[in-house]
């Protein structure tokens, strides 16, 4: 618990926490505003006008969450890799181990703090996204009556919970990759490569890719037949998605696997530098 609290304090002070969240929110706001303005032009073609779905409530709730899981997943990989990798690059893991700290507890306590930070970041991004979508809807002259749709709002806690788990799994992958790489930069680079590698693999291995971590994470909150930013009808390669509950099991398996790998590796590693 001491390590968890201490890491949380460290992450709150860490510029990477704010930079990552800031970029995600900026991109989300930029896209929502851009779509709202272009789609609301009187001479906009029907395809562009369809973009107004992004700022149309209650659908906007799940679409924004889907966006956060898509792009936010990449940022979660980078963030997880940055935190784990810096422990090796800066030598702070070495200092903790030399004080007699348990390597496994240090890794798990650190990751628990990352999971909390990722959850807080997701909630902030989601809140800001809803606000921007509301403003976008107003600009575009789209009704905001669906904002208080009781049925959709009732499903949001579960969707956010699933989304948090998915994004934490993506962070865990970055965490594990950087631990294996023992380096912040190498971990971030490898994490990004794995993220895009999985998207690329969908061309050749469409039946397998749905079980891979990032696609499974996106499927956790996806409603069958609904497209988001990271697959389905929204663009990009069309991949058969897992059912949300099935995806949840796959995500948990990847999460546990990533943590086991990073913990076992750290436990056995020879720490130098």
């Amino acid at each position: 618990m001491r390590i968890f609290r201490s890491t949380l304090r460290k992450l709150i002070r860490r510029p990477a926490s704010f930079v990552t969240l800031g970029i995600l929110i900026a991109l989300l706001a930029l896209i929502l505003f851009a779509v709202s303005i272009t789609a609301s032009q009187p001479d906009a073609p029907p395809q562009q006008r369809a973009g107004l779905q992004l700022v149309t409530f209650p659908e906007a709730y799940t679409i924004i969450l889907s966006f956060i899981l898509g792009l936010g997943g990449l940022f979660a990989v980078i963030y997880g890799a940055a935190v784990a990798g810096s422990e090796w690059s800066w030598g702070t893991l070495k200092s903790a181990v030399a004080r007699g700290e348990s390597r496994s507890r240090y890794q798990l306590g650190t990751f628990a703090a990352i999971a909390v930070m990722v959850g807080i970041g997701m909630l902030i991004a989601f809140g800001v996204g809803i606000g921007v979508a509301f403003v976008g809807a107003t600009i575009a002259g789209v009704s905001t009556a669906g904002l208080g749709d009781a049925e959709t709002l009732g499903t949001m806690p579960e969707l956010l919970g699933r989304g948090w788990l998915a994004i934490v799994e993506e962070g865990a992958l970055g965490f594990a990759i950087a631990t294996l790489a023992r380096s912040q930069l190498a971990g971030i680079g490898a994490g990004i490569a794995v993220y895009f590698g999985e998207q690329f693999a969908s061309i050749f291995l469409p039946d397998i890719v749905k079980y891979l971590p990032f696609n499974a994470a996106n499927a956790v909150v996806a409603t069958p037949g609904e497209g988001g930013f990271s697959g389905g009808d929204g663009g990009g390669p069309i991949i058969a998605s897992l059912e949300p509950n099935e995806a949840l099991i796959v995500v948990v398996a990847w999460l546990v696997g990533a943590l086991v790998v990073s913990t076992l590796f750290t436990e056995r590693a020879e720490i130098s530098g």
């Binding site: 201490s6 510029p15 030598g91 702070t92 070495k94 181990v97």
Partner: protein
């Protein structure tokens, strides 16, 4: 190997002991059966040329890496995988100090205090005062100079009020006042019964600081003992004679020292160096006088550098390339 030094196979009364410690990196041996005996309540200077195995030893002693063979005892108890709690009573500064650059000095100590043994909050302020960082404690570590980071590293090593302190080049980056303060602090710690193990390249610093030294070369201990005893047996007497009498003086003194033990001390000012115990300075003077040569200067002394180079010469000459192409550890 253990000149005037009460250590043996037993490890009773030792703060730190290694027996037959072996560590290989691939096929390359870094340690080839290291036997260290560090008594309780002393400052122990751990010396060796680059690549001799000092850093590997420090990493093994702090559980960062594990030996391929041999044993380690820390504060009288075996230390291996699973014995991490032994380190609760050990403070260390291994290689360069490691901190979160975006946190302040105080926050870094707090973060470190969340690991290992429990540390009272007041201890952090006490240590910041001790290492002279109170004024800068709220500043980010990335704004610290090398010396300030080193001070913070020493404070971090002292966090748990350890019984055994392992320090790798603790004077690195410190200014003269900082070095003096560090030396006084470490001497004080030894005086109250704590054990300080210092790995260093700065021989003069170790000579002033240490009670006991251990010299390592090619992964083995080549000498260990109390520093005063070791230096007594590795002394040098320097004598100055008229330039035209140097060869005659060398011939006269040849019988006092081992072969090759009488040589010009450098320069062309008539100084000769004789490698004998410092207590035999009078013998040198008398021998010269009996040969009709009268010395205009006589000095007796010994230094750790001479001993170090003598003991590690084989390793230095064994290198394919030496620093600036100077082989054989010339002075």
């Amino acid at each position: 190997m253990k000149d005037g030094y009460a250590s043996s196979v037993t490890t009773d009364g030792l703060a730190l002991a290694t027996r037959g410690l072996v560590k290989r990196y691939g096929t390359r041996p870094a340690l080839a059966g290291l036997d260290l005996s560090v008594p309780t309540g002393v400052v122990y200077g751990f010396l060796g040329p680059n690549g001799a195995g000092k850093t590997t030893t420090m990493r093994l002693l702090t559980g960062l890496i594990h030996p391929d063979a041999g044993s380690i005892e820390v504060l009288g108890k075996p230390f291996g995988r699973g014995d991490r709690h032994r380190l609760f009573e050990v403070g260390s500064l291994i290689e360069s100090p490691s901190f979160y650059p975006y946190l302040s000095g105080r926050e870094n100590l707090r973060a470190l205090a969340a690991t290992g043994a429990v540390v009272a909050a007041a201890r952090i302020e006490e240590l910041l005062e001790l290492v002279g960082l109170r004024e800068r404690a709220a500043d980010k570590v990335q704004t610290y100079s090398l010396g300030m980071k080193q001070r913070l590293g020493i404070a971090a090593a002292l966090l748990s009020d350890p019984r055994l302190l392992l320090l790798d080049e603790p004077a690195n980056g410190l200014d003269p006042a900082g070095i003096v303060a560090m030396r006084e602090t470490l001497r004080h710690l030894a005086s109250i019964g704590k054990t300080v193990f210092v790995s260093s390249h700065v021989l003069g610093e170790v000579e002033q600081l240490a009670d006991v030294i251990g010299i390592i070369a090619t992964g083995r201990l080549v000498r260990e003992g109390r520093i005063d005893t070791l230096l007594q047996g590795a002394g040098e007497v320097r004598v100055r004679v008229a330039a035209e009498q140097i060869e005659a003086a060398r011939a006269a003194l040849a019988g006092l020292a081992p072969e090759g033990g009488v040589m010009p001390a450098g320069g062309d000012d008539g100084w000769l160096s004789i490698r004998i115990e410092t207590t035999r300075a009078a013998d040198v003077n008398r021998t010269l006088a009996e040969a009709g040569i009268f010395a205009s200067g006589l000095e007796a002394g010994s230094d750790l550098e001479s001993l170090f180079l003598e003991l590690t010469r084989d390793e230095a000459t064994g290198h394919e390339g030496t620093f600036f192409g100077v082989a054989g550890g010339s002075r």
